[in-house]
């Protein structure tokens, strides 16, 4: 296992986190905690700040104010190895089109300093159902196949914190069901999963918490009050009217 496995945490806490892009406010004094063993769904209109929040938690975007802690420690104090415990599936898929599926996984596996890399890659290709196309260039894959490979790339190093931006994009019914099963598997294994999506129907099956974001402000939606879309619309109408 990589040296980064020495770092571990069971919760991620945002305290008064703000992020401004010039005069535009992407996050405004956001305070929220994500815990191990849960899948949190992040919902909101375009430009609400969902991707910014994922970027801040992933250590890619520096907050303008406030603090993000991982098990009580800041990203600065945990240093570079912290990133070895974070897996990110972006809306753009973080894959090289000129490399094959296996080469993509191998490259990122090497960067993460993973041991037993061959076995991990075989397992990842199998989970993505791409074993037979392992040596094909990613540029020849459909969006759905790339999405499946990108998910396995993000999970190759067994991250504690999994951040997903629109994970259901381009997936057919079967792949969607597999992704949902994979997310539940991650939750059961003790991962902290945060997923930004507009896909209420598919998210409904997997999320434990529903968090709405608009104009950089967070509103958590209590569970068990009708379906996701209805709850979302209700909160949007009530909280931001």
């Amino acid at each position: 296992m990589a040296a980064s496995s020495a770092i571990d945490f069971t919760q991620v806490e945002l305290t008064d986190v703000s992020r401004h892009f010039g005069r535009r406010r992407a996050l405004a004094k956001t305070t929220i905690t994500f815990r191990a063993g849960e899948i949190a769904g992040l919902f909101g209109p375009n430009g609400a700040g969902k991707s910014t929040m994922l970027g801040v938690i992933a250590t890619l975007v520096r907050p303008t104010g406030g603090a993000v802690t991982y098990g009580g420690a800041s990203a600065r104090s945990l240093g570079d190895p912290l990133r070895g415990r974070i897996g990110v599936l972006g809306h753009d898929l973080f894959l090289y089109g000129d490399l094959s599926a296996r080469e993509n996984l191998e490259f990122f596996g090497r960067l993460y300093g993973l041991d037993r890399l061959g076995d991990r890659i075989d397992s990842a290709l199998s989970a993505a159902r791409l074993s037979e196309r392992a040596n094909d260039r990613v540029s020849s894959f459909s969006r759905g196949l790339r999405q499946r490979l990108a998910l396995e790339r993000a999970l190759l190093h067994l991250p504690r914190l999994v951040l997903l931006d629109e994970p259901f994009t381009g997936l057919d019914d079967e792949s969607t069901a597999l992704l949902s099963a994979r997310l539940r598997q991650l939750r059961d294994a003790g991962s902290i999963v945060l997923m930004a999506t507009h896909d209420f129907e598919n998210a409904d099956d997997v999320i434990d918490r529903m968090i709405c974001l608009r104009e950089g402000r967070v509103r958590e939606i209590p569970d068990a009050r009708g379906n996701l879309r209805a709850r979302y619309r209700q909160v949007m109408a009530e909280a931001w009217s």
Binding site: A58, L60, P81, I86, G90, D92, Y96, G97, L111
Partner: protein, 243 residues
Amino acid sequence: MNVIRAAWWIARKDLIVEARSRELIYTTLFFAVACVLVFAFAFVQDGRSLDMAPTGPIGESVMPISVTDAAAGILWVAVAFSGTLALGRAFERERQSETLRALLLAPTERTAIYLGKLVGMVALMLLVELVLVPIIGLLFDAPIARAPFLLAALLIAGTLGFAAVGTLFAAMLVRAHSRDVLLPVLLYPITVPVIIAGVRGTAAIFGAEPNLDAAASWMSILIFFDAVFITLALWTFAPVMSE
């Protein structure tokens, strides 16, 4: 993870991608050769090099320049221009599918990304120079075999200094809309010392009266610039890449 090892994996990946697409090598090489040919049309006639003898106000020759002296300048102009073209694309590939973010998420020091990109760029530019130098020798009667190791060392050191600054600026400009315009505007003023040292060192080798000691001195200056530029780049790269 060891920075050097991570840099190696990034450089290796870049070279594999380039070997498959051949996008950069073909465009850079074509541009470099075209650049040299344009100069050759001006300085070569009927298969012979023209000697240039600028004249003073009263028509007397004040500083005769051999075309072999000019060849040093032409070589470095081609290296700088074609290098700029390659450097402009150094991080462009990482913008497609936002793989730059994936690199930034790796649990290694971010300077590994810079070093990996730098190694890839230097390898590409040296490959172009491997073709360029014989063409310069052929078209301008430049004595490229007079001190081959010193010439190679000058080119390697000069290319390293130029690419060290260029790779940093390419990274800084990766999210800028007018990055193609801004890169040469920022790059050339900073790398002027490298270009001057490269030209003067190469001219000392190519000259009618070669001065290898002078070439070695310019080489030392290039190494100094390389050390300064690479140190500054390693120091500034990680903050530059933070959003």
